[in-house]
């Protein structure tokens, strides 16, 4: 036997020290008051007006950007599936390349484009239209999210769609199905695993981001990620920050369970 149980020891120690104890410490701080006593106050603090507003906006913007990514990515994946093999490799390359560029720089690119003195406004004024306030709007944040996360939607959907047997589609047409029927009854059900992992890979980072909202929202628009980040870095109130993180984790877990219901394969195509 090459396998020996003790080989896993460093890994087990690492999981305990690097993952389990840190997560438990969030739970500990989340239920602890500043004076050290037990409390629910850090959890219920989510109901405060500012926090509710931030959470609501995060859910809304994450939902919109996920939807936009899905609408843009699905046709792209289908076009890729139908294109010639040699071209496919090139196209996938095209979608992977931006992922290799630091996402802060990619977000900064939109700052440069949307700024008051930026590229788009300069073009607008050149044709004689008034300057627009494009930055620091929820729209700018959605744009940044879609831009940063679109490849993460395209690739998993493409991975599942490309494995669909073309004979199935031809058979459906031969049996008299309309184009619409082929999509709704054959292609869409078979691409569910890819869609589910695409949604997971876009929705969760979008829901929890604080970077995109900070850079394109100019610090004026607070998402739940911003509130939590500020509790840790500016206010140094780890208790409140942990409590709010626990509530946010609840939303992540619920959305994952919800998505898993659709995906019977259990997320095999996640990577």
């Amino acid at each position: 036997m090459i396998s020996r149980k003790r080989y896993a020891t460093p890994f087990i120690v690492w999981i305990i020290a690097g993952t389990l104890i840190p997560l438990l410490s969030i739970a500990y701080y989340g239920f602890t008051a500043r004076d050290g006593g037990f409390t629910f106050a850090n959890i219920t603090a989510m109901f405060q007006h500012d926090h509710m507003q931030a959470l609501g906006l995060s859910l809304l913007l994450a939902f919109i950007s996920t939807l936009v990514c899905l609408i843009l990515a699905f046709p792209m994946a289908m076009i890729l599936k139908d294109s010639k093999y040699g071209k496919q490799g090139f196209m996938i390359f095209v979608f992977i390349l931006p992922m290799w560029m630091n996402f802060l720089l990619r977000t900064m690119a939109w700052q440069v484009l949307l700024e008051r003195q930026g590229v788009i406004n300069t073009l607008i004024t050149m044709v004689g239209l008034p300057r627009q306030e494009l930055m620091n709007t929820p729209g700018a944040i959605v744009l940044g999210m879609v831009y940063d996360f679109l490849p993460f939607m395209i690739l998993p959907i493409y991975n599942t769609v490309s494995k669909i047997d073309n004979h199935l589609i031809e058979a459906a047409y031969d049996l008299g199905a309309s184009r619409k029927k082929v999509y709704t009854s054959v292609i869409l059900p078979l691409s569910v695993p890819g869609i589910v992992s695409g949604i997971t890979m876009v929705f969760i980072p979008a829901l929890t981001t604080f970077v995109i909202s900070n850079m394109l929202g100019g610090g004026k628009i607070n998402l739940i990620g911003n509130i939590i980040e500020q509790e840790f870095t500016v206010n140094s109130n780890w208790y409140l920050g942990s409590g709010l993180s626990l509530v946010m984790m609840l939303f992540i877990i619920v959305s994952m369970l919800f998505l898993r219901k659709f995906d019977k394969t259990g997320g095999e195509s996640l990577i």
Binding site: I21, D82, V112, L150, T209, I252
Partner: protein, 258 residues
Amino acid sequence: MKRLGKIYILIIMLFLYLPILTLMVLSFNEAKSMAVFTRFSLHWYAELFQSKLMLGAIVNTFSIAILAALIATIVGTMAVLGIDAMKPRTENVLLAANNIPMLNADIVTGIALMLFFLMIGVPRGYCTILFSHATFCIPYVILSVRPRLNKNTDKLYEAALDLGASEKYAFRKIVLPELWPGISSGFLLSFTMSVDDFIITYFTRGAGINTISTLIYSEVKIGIRPSLFALSTIIFVVALVTLIIVNYKQNKADKMAA
């Protein structure tokens, strides 16, 4: 229909690449303007490379990435061999725990590690970043190495031992070659994830230490300088060249296999 598809691809490509292209053009702009191109100049590149902060951040980023990927690869590969020897139930529990850092939001992982370091009283700096990066890289190594381990490997290994090979020799000649594709892709995946990470580094770094990502973030907060455009251009070109080389090698390997 074909035309429509081509137009659609073009639109998506423009959406993905025009912003990057804008940064690349502006990086050669003499003026600081974010919109008007005055004259060709390389002085933002000069500024970038004269910045001690940036050079330090580059060294940190790559040394952390190499070390974290190395640690993760060793721990992860050993874990695959160890887990394989366990009862299916223990195996499932460990693999589920292994999934946590991958499924968790980065901000939660970052905060959790930060609290952990504060609780045990470790000052945050280079080592805490390294530990955190290895933590989120290990799961990816396990996921890429595990599928390479199969019943056949075990039998060949036993056969080698029966024929008088030492354990070390059999491991080097049988097991390692079998696992190698998984090990190397796990290493590369870890390396790129580490270089790319911002959120976890942000929470686990100390005050005096920067990686490329955290330095970009603090500079963008003060105000965008075109030297960051120069940095974008360099990163883009490096990524492009690396991917082309990887693709070329893969194509060649595929052709050899065929």
